[in-house]
Symmetry: C2
Subunit: 250 residues, 2 copies
């Protein structure tokens, strides 16, 4: 299985602290990693088929703070598809003139719906196939980019169809919102005023968020397993879909 990390904020926020925690878990999840950072409608996508513990790209991301309102990161343990850049999450496509980014943790055995739209997988993973199907169905449901609330309603109809074939822990973003869907394991927390310090579970590293924030800042972090051991994380329930906008549940 893989591990997911998502971030949604109301002010440009970096994920150096959380990504450092995630990368520590790349002992088992060594088959590549990726991270996508939205800046307005633009997106930066960093991927590597090397482990996030050894990759020079991951090392760069642990040192270089990129301010973003929506981030999706992923460390991979290959279950379907070889260890190659083309099979590395997150995946990126354009729909309605917006970039869409998705990362998946789980297995969708036998879920190979027909792709008759404009989206085709480049690699061999079940995840990228499901992403292409999801965008195909979204493009049929809406002629142009709808409000996020309408997208949430459409996703609530679509995601169970895929999740029925296995486990579909999912992070999805178009740069406006972060959608999180849980099958087996996905946790989230919100950080807001008054900010406190937090300590990574996997590494001897703490940060005092009060020193790097303003009282108006709000940040949601979503992760497969809680990244810190001194904050209160909430587990998404199996089948639960949550949309986050401006650092809060929408």
């Amino acid at each position: 299985m893989c591990q997911l990390l998502g971030m949604n904020a109301n002010t440009p926020t970096d994920i150096v602290f959380s990504f450092t925690g995630l990368a520590t878990r790349a002992v088992e999840h060594k088959d590549g990693f990726g991270a996508a950072f939205f800046e307005d409608a633009g997106v930066r996508l960093f991927t590597d088929h090397a482990s996030a513990r050894q990759s020079p790209v991951a090392d760069f991301l642990k040192r270089y703070p990129i301010g973003s309102l929506n981030v999706i990161a992923h460390i991979r343990k290959a279950t379907q598809g070889s260890v190659a850049l083309r099979n590395t999450h997150p995946f990126l496509r354009e729909l309605w003139g917006r970039h869409w980014v998705m990362a998946h943790n789980g297995d969708l055995k036998g879920f190979r719906p027909r792709l008759h739209g404009a989206f085709r997988p480049v690699g061999e993973t079940d995840s990228e196939h499901a992403f292409c199907w999801l965008l195909q169905e979204l493009s049929k449901a809406h002629a142009s980019v709808p409000p996020t609330t309408e997208l949430t309603a459409t996703l609530a109809e679509l995601l169970p169809q895929a999740a029925a074939h296995g486990s579909f822990n999912l992070l999805l973003s178009d740069g406006r919102a972060l959608w999180a869907h849980a099958s087996t394991s996905l946790h989230w927390l919100q950080r807001c005023h008054p900010f406190r310090a937090a300590r990574l579970k996997d590494e001897d590293l703490s940060i005092d968020f009060a020193r790097v924030t303003t009282p108006q800042d709000r940040v949601v972090v979503v992760a497969t397993e809680p990244l810190t051991d001194d904050e209160c994380w909430t587990a998404l329930q199996p089948g639960e879909l949550q949309c986050f906008v401006d650092g809060a549940p929408a």
Copy 2:
């Protein structure tokens, strides 16, 4: 105007030397940069709206050799569209289950063909609009991914339609081939056995390619202006389209 850099090789080759030369020219071309590296069907895309002279991402690329058969890089001087990540070349889309990457130097004033297909620009540049139109027309001309020779023939019909509206110096790749189209300025050279040393025009930096290559290696480099002053560069003629495969004209 912007500056382009392309590389096509028959063995994984890095562009650290050439990119260092290109980045030196980012004094005038300071409005962002990007570089896309294919690894088989997979692609890594690095972009930044900061200048390639100051950007930590560019600094990383000057130090980290990424072996690739096809690379497209671009430094931007904004003419249409604001300085933002969404307007930064190269642009990336998927067609026929392959990633397509394009960078453009020039202006296509008034070229806003109707986009009725699956590709929509995310930013505001004439370049991305032309890229979406090009992929739309390619997808109408071929039901699935054709051989590169057929694609060259289709591109030879399409590109003049855009180039008629201004200047369309273009680099395009799907990871199998590198296409170069010139309106005003594009130069290329091939490096092969026996390899020699080369010296950057813009910076006091030399490399002896004989030390880092094997006799079978072949590499084509394409650039807006020659990057070295001790090698023989060939200018593409206005309107000329050239396809490069395995480090040689195809």
